[in-house]
């Protein structure tokens, strides 16, 4: 590929990603952005860009990630966790990557309400906590009220934002080592392979376990897909529609008493702002 062509490809890929939603999973052979963007694709994406400009969400710009490459990696990873398929939209279409970006630039990302005083021990004990506790999504009085996300003890001096930056770059490192290419350039099953290595606790990072990063990534992908759209994810309540979740309402007395499942069009917090 000539340099000029490469530039063109990159440019259109960026627009394509920026446009989010439209494609995501299920593209040719399951590859998302795999350097396989055909000319047809490029044409399409140009057209789509201009078509979508009018409705483009002006909030969709990065507030935490500065390197575009990190954000691209994030997008690709979240899309593997919740892929677009016959069942409904995937993470990108739902706005999950922007949700995560915004969360990380706020108090959650900086661990504002967490105890972050020294000393932080990186010893056998903390290593085991991070690697062993795979069933923590099944334990505890909150199993019935909280999203099933594993919660290993948090014993790192890194805040959540730091963990993401290091984790996403580590993903590229692992991708290079395993498949000799960047994460975003891999086939879907290769991407899954890389993520699975993190999920299995096989990847060590500096100051934190790879599995801790993966758990955080998985948790926030679900949060982005299904939280109120006010946070930038669950775009147009598509996550809720997919799940038939009706959103926050003043009363569910009638539905509670009904034996049949009652499906309702969702409402959001926006409906409470009067």
């Amino acid at each position: 590929m000539a340099d000029e062509d490469k530039e063109k490809t990159d440019e259109s890929r960026r627009r394509f990603i920026k446009n989010t939603g439209m494609i995501a999973g299920g593209v040719v052979g399951g590859s998302l952005f795999g350097g396989l963007l055909t000319s047809q694709f490029q044409d399409d994406s140009d057209t789509q860009t201009s078509n979508n400009e009018a409705t483009q969400n002006l909030q969709e710009a990065r507030t935490f990630f500065s390197r575009k490459e990190d954000f691209d990696t994030l997008q690709a990873a979240t899309e593997r966790i919740l892929p677009k398929d016959d069942d409904g939209p995937g993470a990108i279409e739902l706005g999950v990557p922007f949700f995560i970006d915004k969360q990380l630039s706020g108090s959650w990302g900086t661990n504002a309400k967490a105890y972050m005083k020294d000393p932080f021990y990186q010893n056998k004990q903390t290593y085991e906590y991070q690697h062993k506790d795979t069933k923590q999504d099944k334990s505890g009085p909150n199993t019935s009220t909280q999203a099933p996300s594993r919660t290993p003890r948090y014993q790192t001096r890194l805040n959540r934002g730091d963990i993401y930056l290091q984790g996403l770059r580590k993903m590229n490192e692992v991708s290079q080592k395993k498949f000799d290419n960047k994460f975003t350039e891999l086939e879907a099953d290769q991407q899954d392979d890389v993520l699975q290595a993190f999920d299995n606790g096989e990847i060590d990072m500096r100051g934190v376990a790879g599995i801790t990063f993966f758990n955080l990534l998985r948790q926030m992908t679900l949060e982005g897909a299904f939280s109120d759209p006010v946070y930038g994810g669950n775009r147009n309540m598509m996550g809720w529609k997919m799940k038939e979740y009706p959103g926050p309402r003043m009363s569910y007395v009638n539905e509670l008493e009904s034996d049949a499942f009652v499906k309702k069009e969702p409402k959001s917090l926006r409906d409470f702002q009067s």
Partner: protein, 579 residues
């Protein structure tokens, strides 16, 4: 330099149910009461228009800000304890009303057995049934003595329920009828009944109809909106201190609430009197001394224990010699005490987006000593419960075992089963052991340089055996409910330092012997006549039911004691050994 304030009759640390009840009762009795709350000032308006799962359930808006102070945790005495750093691992309420605002509202009286657990166990099975190292004891009060306080609390909170067919005697019915019966709850009850058990509707602080309590406070009827447990109620339909005892105290004109007031010490210079408390205004950094005739510690278990230890009051518990009291018998509803079975249904779809914190079915057939323990390798028991909290969309991502954790198959199953899964669990009791306790951490400090509280806690065979028993019973019921896939919970190997659920207790335990208890049954310190320590910290072990009404009822008992003390002074009761 601390600024010294004018003396008041009573200073109360904490504004949850315990501090709220005491503030209301004593200000009604004409005493000048100051309550100190480290969190922010809140009222109903703070919880209106914010039905937001992410904010409350996943970002823990109503929980303690751990950046200033937390606890450390370890399993055994020879381990290095590590801080519980994030709110994912910790659940302690903060702000006005404390944990009483985010609570689910499930109401259970503790049965007679638990108040006299040592005597009754020894009597029925012999002393050998209680293993060496299990440090259970009688509470120094009986169910019959507690009954009037339970009755009083239930009326204040407008509890909505029906009588437990296997429950202890009551002087009155609940003040309100039970909540509506949803399809999942009915399914549970039918299945349990068919098996010969005695199911009934969980009694609830989510109020079933509009109700005015004896103090003249009005509660509304629950709308089953599902934003309940972890949230403040936006409709005044969940009984909490903000809707009841705090406004009651405020109306008297004798009550002052100071928020963002972080108490660091009980002012104590030995002897049998405390002089007041020292606190910091966290907005300005100004230190204050608040003198008082009576000091009431009514904070969360962790804070009650820590304040006594930092103030060097009472004899700290030493696990090596098994002597001393403060910090002894740490107990609570750990992760192992809520195990059961989750069922997935192919042809039934429930309206699980609707619900209320305490909406559910329960049964006491395997609670306390309601069944014969001769042939089982544990003592005590628990409720078997189904609960329909109502679920947000983030929560409802449960999949049957064997489904991958992420990817297309996960997504497919999470969507498919979102409204097709139900959970039944056993709220097993948690016994006390000599090796489970609290002391001050040698390494980690709070913002002011004071040591954090350290918890040492591990599971025992008792815990694993009772959990196994419960899982089997829950699985049996779930099978009868007709689930197509049943995932029985696994028993965790060891306590995993997840302080979720907010039900942690002990350390300032009650009893009738000053050698083995810190407070008498008025929750008055044996060592310090004008110091009352109220809350879950008084539980010598954790019975197999949720704790809140017992804490509220003990607060009524303590209020009575404080009034008596203000009148006559001195120790209200004689310790067993002096008797």
């Amino acid at each position: 330099m601390a600024k010294k304030l004018d003396k008041v009759d009573v200073v109360v640390v904490g504004t949850g149910w315990a501090g709220g009840v005491i503030s209301a009762e004593l200000s009604k009795a004409g005493k000048k009461v100051v309550a100190l709350e480290r969190g922010e000032k809140k009222n109903l308006e703070d919880y209106t228009g914010v039905k937001d799962e992410l904010r409350f359930m996943n970002r823990f808006q109503m929980m303690q800000d751990l950046s200033h102070e937390t606890i450390t945790s370890r399993n055994t005495m020879d381990e290095q304890a590590l801080p519980v750093r994030t709110r994912d691992e910790m659940m302690a309420g903060t702000d006005t009303g404390g944990g009483g605002v985010h609570w689910a509202g499930a109401v259970y009286r503790y049965p007679p057995y638990d108040f006299e657990i040592y005597s009754k166990t020894a009597e029925r099975y012999g002393k050998d049934k209680i293993p060496d190292g299990m440090t259970i004891q009688d509470w120094g009060i009986t169910y019959d003595e507690m009954e009037p306080y339970y009755d009083q609390f239930e009326k204040t909170a407008g509890i909505s329920g029906e009588e437990d067919p296997l429950g202890p005697e009551r002087s009155n019915d609940y003040p309100n009828p039970p909540l509506l019966e949803s399809r999942p709850v009915r399914l549970f009850k039918d299945a349990a009944e068919e098996l010969g058990y005695h199911p009934y509707q969980v009694a609830s602080a989510n109020v079933s109809q509009q109700y005015e309590n004896p103090d003249g406070e009005t509660l509304n009827a629950c709308m089953y909106c599902a934003f309940c447990h972890y949230y403040g109620c936006d409709f005044g339909a969940k009984s909490d201190p903000l809707m009841t005892v705090i406004p009651t105290a405020q109306k008297t004109g004798n009550f002052e609430l100071r928020t963002q007031s972080y108490v660091r010490r009980v002012l104590y210079d030995g002897g049998n009197k405390a002089n007041g408390v020292m606190y910091v205004d966290t907005e300005t950094g100004q230190e204050f001394e608040q003198p008082a005739d009576v000091v009431v510690l009514a904070a969360f278990t962790f804070t009650n224990n820590r304040l006594l230890m930092l103030s060097e009051i009472g004899k700290p518990y030493d696990p090596e010699s098994r002597t001393g009291v403060i910090g002894k018998n740490f107990n609570g509803q750990m992760n192992i005490t809520f195990l059961g079975a989750r069922g997935f249904f192919e042809d039934r779809k429930f309206n699980l987006y609707a619900g209320a914190g305490a909406l559910g079915g329960t049964m006491s057939d395997f609670a306390a000593d309601n069944f014969d323990h001769s042939d089982v390798d544990f003592i005590n028991g628990g409720a078997i419960e189904i609960r329909q909290y109502g679920e947000g969309a983030i929560t409802s991502n449960r999949v049957p075992k064997g489904t991958p954790n992420w990817g297309s198959e996960f997504k497919k199953n999470a969507n498919h089963y979102a409204y097709r899964n139900l959970n039944v669990w056993y709220t097993a009791a948690n016994m006390s052991w000599y090796h489970n306790y609290m002391d001050l951490d040698p390494t980690y400090k709070d913002d002011f340089g004071d040591p954090l509280l350290r918890v040492t806690n591990k599971y025992t065979d008792q815990d694993r055996n009772i959990a196994k028993f419960g899982i089997e019973k829950c699985t049996e019921i779930m099978e009868n409910m007709g689930a197509d896939i049943i995932d029985a919970d696994d028993i965790p190997e060891e306590f995993d330092h997840m302080y979720q659920g907010g039900h942690y207790a002990g350390g300032v335990i009650m009893g009738d012997d000053p050698e083995t208890s810190a407070v008498n049954n008025y929750l008055q310190m044996w060592d310090v006549d004008n110091l009352f320590v109220v809350g879950g910290s008084a539980f010598p072990h954790f019975p197999g039911h949720h704790p809140t009404v017992t804490i509220g009822s003990l607060a009524y008992r303590a209020s009575e004691g404080i009034e008596k003390y203000l009148k006559n002074g001195g120790q209200l009761l004689k310790g067993k050994q002096e008797a």
